[in-house]
Subunit: 209 residues, 2 copies
């Protein structure tokens, strides 16, 4: 048994952000499967005992229970000394990208991927809305990564891990990824690191809906 | 001239989160008007000189320039000693709600309000999509505020200021606010505080599109 228990499921890129932290840091962890597709996160019981926000991932570490991938990543960087910021200014820069990720980059892309890539909605006004916004967020990150190896400080940080949540997911989103060459190179840089594993190899549960 | 300069505009609840911090803390600040409706945040020049993420607010404090309302609020709580967390656990709790706000609460509501309330889109599939998700986020916050005065630690913190970004905006969103009585009571608690001002009285620029 590891010290770290992560409530997670394979389809969730938000969970992958944390699972990837453990994989790249070479730290043992245990998974607790969340039956998201079966509606577990919407039950009263799950919300009362695991997370009132109704979301995975949730990390348990001793008596500490934490939700929100951005808070979990920040906590893990502190307690393990890995992938964190080195100065106050860098810490703000890391958190700035984690917030941009939650608000725009992961947010629009993950929902587009779920509706279009997994539920196979076909082209709808909502898909068009999400894709336009996901592409705008991709363009901002691609521009930032142009001429840089990683988002902050020229080394892997939790800002990269947050943004990497959904970028390895295999489902079609109707976005042409060749339009974002700096993101493609950054993905290769991450997936070539020792310990890297694909989300569907790292977390439990089904990989289709 | 104040030490603090905030790039902002009246219609932006994300900017209001920071402007409200200054108002309730009784701290002087200067505004720099962002012509969002005129497309200023989409120009190369603005992105290069103010914020590569293309978003307001941006805070300038001496040589420090910070974007993302969540990072700005965290910074201001540190440098002014107001509305911050008192322990590491409380700090995680505050950041957990700021992330939930950016990902779900403000995110869906602000976009719904812009499209439906300001641009007067009428009922569309995108409006229906955003309203459903905004209501789910409102329900989570209403449930959390039931039996509590504020989000964290029974006093006003930057978690409340983040979530309060759009709740005072007057435009119709098609959401029945009487369904969220704990949020209504929390809004009254905030607007009755000394120094409180409405977003349209606090920030420069037009209040319609």
């Amino acid at each position: 048994m590891s010290d770290f228990k992560l409530h997670c499921f394979a389809l969730s890129g938000n969970c992958y952000k944390v699972a990837l932290f453990f994989a790249l840091a070479g730290i043992e962890w245990d998974s607790i499967f969340v039956d998201y597709l079966g509606g577990e996160t919407r039950t009263e019981q799950w919300r009362e005992t695991v997370n009132e926000q109704g979301e995975a991932p949730v990390l348990e570490h001793g008596q500490t229970k934490i939700s929100q991938s951005g808070v979990i990543l920040d906590y893990l960087s502190e307690v393990t000394g890995r992938f964190g910021a080195q100065t106050a200014a860098e810490r703000r820069d890391v958190m700035r990208w984690i917030l941009f990720d939650n608000h725009k980059f992961t947010s629009y892309y993950a929902t587009l991927r779920f509706i279009y890539g997994l539920q196979k909605s076909g082209e709808t006004p909502v898909v068009e809305f999400l894709r336009l916004r996901a592409k705008a967020a991709y363009a901002v990150v691609d521009e930032h990564l142009t001429g840089r190896a990683f988002m902050v400080g020229e080394r892997l940080t939790i800002a990269d891990l947050s943004l990497a949540g959904y970028v390895f997911m295999p489902e079609d989103t109707g976005i042409e990824h060749s339009a974002y060459p700096a993101i493609a190179a950054w993905k290769d840089r991450i997936s070539n690191m020792p310990g890297w594993r694909h989300p569907y190899d790292l977390m439990p549960g089904p990989t289709s809906v």
